[in-house]
């Protein structure tokens, strides 16, 4: 089957007037199958978000080509749904109108069917009772759910998520992950999920792409063969830790002599034993929370 999304030798170079050009991506090759859930992890500042901009057409590659459904992506095509790091809701619209915003913004008439669909989407993300609320009346997690409902409104084939849960507290983050999987199960989509949480990537995705520091390229692609549906119990499977360990080694290098070369089981007992991750990751508590909740 033809891949849904393809990056062929993609490179991207930021040019700005004041600073020297920065090569953020170099020689990125990847292909994503239809309805595959792919997570991207990598050190912060490695150009993960550039990947998102390239795929959505907001940025053009300076080298290589990005293809969607076999056609090169040169500008926004309107066929992807984007969930941003921040909820990015419009404060002057209520929740329902925020979900309907993509339709209105494309100049289309919003009919009764569209409203019904927006309500259904809000029901799906558990906000059916909040359609008339203002965004600032909602918690961060609820706002992000509105953002997800909005991204799903036009029923895009491809859903791009840029660290969507990174602003949430550890508990809601875990909950949102499973909710996302449930929605994805109901309405299958090709998902590119960018995150800096290794365990989140392993828990959610069919495949995890590991990126190197700048100029970033993909250094590993792991098939996550954990059974679906994924549940909190998934984290207890030995295979889960084998995967997270492997990714961690890619990002932080092999464990030094001072650190115990932990087995999968030992790591399970000591969440965040790897203090280097604690230092590097802005939100190290996530892993821990997912652990404890299981």
């Amino acid at each position: 089957m033809k891949p849904h999304v393809e990056f062929i030798e993609v490179g991207h170079c930021y040019r700005s007037r004041r600073k020297a050009p920065v090569q953020s991506l170099l020689g990125v090759n990847l292909s994503i199958a239809r309805h595959e859930f792919v997570a991207v992890v990598g050190p912060s500042g490695c150009g993960k978000s550039t990947l998102l901009r390239l795929l959505s057409g907001l940025t053009r590659p300076t080298q290589g080509e990005v293809r969607m459904f076999g056609h090169p992506v040169r500008e926004p095509g309107g066929e992807v749904g984007i969930v941003f790091q921040k909820p990015t809701l419009l404060p002057w619209l209520n929740v329902l109108d925020n979900v309907l915003f993509p339709l209105r913004h494309q100049g289309r008439v919003v009919g009764r069917q569209d409203r019904t669909r927006a309500r259904e989407l809000l029901d799906t993300v558990g906000l059916g009772d909040f359609i008339a609320s203002r965004p600032d009346e909602l918690s961060g997690g609820m706002q992000q759910r509105v953002g997800i409902a909005r991204a799903l409104l036009l029923d895009p084939e491809v859903l791009i998520m840029d660290e969507p849960f990174s602003a949430l507290d550890a508990l809601s983050r875990e909950q949102m992950g499973f909710e996302l999987l449930r929605i994805w199960g109901e309405r299958p989509k090709t998902v590119l999920f960018i995150t800096h949480s290794i365990s989140e990537a392993v828990l959610l995705a069919d495949r995890v792409l590991v990126m190197s520091p700048r100029p970033a390229s993909i250094v590993d692609s792991l098939d996550i063969d954990l059974p679906r549906p994924r549940t909190p119990a998934t984290i207890d499977l030995p295979a889960f830790n084998v995967h997270t360990q492997r990714i961690r080694r890619h990002i932080f290098g092999p464990p030094g002599p001072g650190e115990s070369n932990v087995t999968a089981g030992a790591l399970t007992e000591s969440p965040l034993a790897n203090t280097r991750q604690a230092a590097d990751s802005p939100r190290p508590a996530t892993h821990q929370a997912i652990r404890h909740a299981s």
């Binding site: 907001l58 926004p76 984007i82 990015t88 203002r134």
Partner: protein
């Protein structure tokens, strides 16, 4: 249930300034009588009140309407000029570079010096006065609107771009609404400036208006009457400011911070 207006709010926001004024007035009166301050230096509050009542109510209304009319027309004209100008400047860096220096020059030229020229050019009537009020009021609106529109978060703009929306829709549905809190800050400054503009215009050439009446009264040494007109003018200015605030509260309530955050 929380009462709509709590006692603390009433005390803090409405009553305190009035109480302060009520405390000052007797002191002022007392000082004027005690030290025998002549009327042309500082008239006592009772003298001002008397002068106020001595002028026919209809005459007051005539002056009031002349000033408010010009101020409101100047304010409306300023909005009509400023918003398109701000949109143009947000759309094009070239235009910003070209236009902005001119706007600064217009803003920094003393309007009092330009007012006689405008009156000569545009002749008698409301037109020159409206232009003068507009000239002094438009700048804060342009600056506030431009600032607000340029402050739109990048992710909102990317959302708009990812939907393949036209530039017009980006402005109309994202940038302008985002700028609304900024625009209202500009409008609040502009409405008081519009009053000042109207008064300046009346100083130069007019036969009616509160500014004209202040000048007329002083030239006949009716100082208490001038003071009365002055107070009237301040009250009108304050009311118009409050009116802008009310419009924001009524139609753009979301753009105000929540009560407990203020």
């Amino acid at each position: 249930m929380k009462p709509l207006v709590s006692l603390r709010d009433v005390l803090g926001q409405r009553l305190l300034p009035i109480l302060a004024l009520l405390a000052i007035l007797p002191l002022w009166e007392l000082a004027c009588r005690l030290f025998g301050v002549p009327d042309y230096v500082l008239p006592a509050p009772t003298a001002i009140l008397e002068a106020f009542l001595n002028v026919d109510g209809q005459r007051w209304m005539g002056h009031l309407w002349a000033t408010v009319r010009v101020a409101l027309m100047g304010f409306a004209l300023a909005i009509l000029v400023s918003l398109p100008l701000a949109i143009l400047m947000v759309r094009s860096v070239f235009l910003t570079r070209t236009l902005f220096p001119f706007l600064v020059v217009i803003q920094s030229t003393p309007i009092v010096a330009v007012a006689p020229l405008i009156i000569v050019i545009l002749g008698a009537g409301d037109a020159p006065r409206t232009v003068i009020a507009c000239l002094i009021a438009f700048f804060p609106i342009v600056v506030a609107t431009t600032t607000g529109m340029l402050a739109t978060p990048r992710e909102m703009l990317e959302l708009s771009r990812s939907l393949k929306a036209s530039p017009a829709r980006e402005i109309w549905q994202v940038r302008l609404p985002y700028a609304v809190p900024h625009i209202f800050s500009g409008l609040k400054v502009a409405i008081t400036l519009a009053i000042i503009g109207a008064v300046i215009a009346e100083f130069v050439a007019a036969e009616q208006g509160l500014g004209y009446f202040v000048q007329f009264s002083t030239s006949y040494f009716r100082i208490p009457q001038a003071f009365a007109a002055l107070f009237f003018l301040s009250a009108v200015s304050l009311l118009l400011f409050k009116a802008v605030q009310l419009v924001q509260q009524t139609f753009f309530g979301w753009s105000l911070p929540a009560d407990d955050e203020r």
